[in-house]
Symmetry: C2
Subunit: 116 residues, 2 copies
Amino acid sequence: MLQKISLARETGKLTAFWSQRTVAEGNGNLFKVAKGTGSTEWHTHHDQDETFLLLEGQLTVQLRDGDVELTPGDLLVIPRGTEHCPKVDGEARFLLVGPEITSNAAGGKPAWSYEA
Amino acid sequence: MLQKISLARETGKLTAFWSQRTVAEGNGNLFKVAKGTGSTEWHTHHDQDETFLLLEGQLTVQLRDGDVELTPGDLLVIPRGTEHCPKVDGEARFLLVGPEITSNAAGGKPAWSYEA
C-alpha cells in the first residue's frame, strides 16, 4: 500500500541546515525537504530550475534585482541561470522540487551546513 | 523580478471542483492547484505519476488495497498504473505536480466538475 509522507515529520528529522533530504520521487523529480538559518552563499544553478515551497518560518530569496519574501504556502521557481542567495531570520523549513540529476552548482551552502 | 506564488491565493481563485489550475512551471513540470469535494470516479493514469500535496482540508485517496488519509502538509505520490479515487469530506485544496504532457487518462472527474 502507498505511504503518505508528512512533510512536517520529515523536516523534523533534519539534523543540519541547508542539507537536502529526499522524501519522494515522481516522474523523475525528487521532492526534498531542508531547513535553513542565516544565509547561504550567492550561487547559480546553470542546469536546472529550483522550486521552493516554504513550509514553516520565513525565507527571503535574495536576487540581484531585489528580494522575494516567502511566507508559508508561497512557492517560488528560480529559473536556471538566475543568481540567488536564500536568507532566513530564525529558522525556515521548505520543500524543494527538482530533477534527479545533481546540479552542476548545488553549492552555495555555508561550510557549516554539511552533515558528518 | 521573479514573482512568488501564494498557493492559498491561487486556490481561492478556483471556481470549479476537480479542475486543475496551473500556477508555475519548473524543469518541465507543472505545479497545479485544485479543490475537491465529494469524490471523483475511479481512474488510472498509465503514463505518469501523480503527486498530491494537501494544503487545506482532508483528502482520502482510495486505493484498491485501502485508503490513505491526507491532512495538510501530507504528500502522496500515486505511481502510474495505480487505480485510485480521491474523496473529500467538505472541501479540500491541494497542489498537484506532474509533467507538462496531458495525461492519457486525466479523467475520473465527475461530470459536474467541468468549468464552462
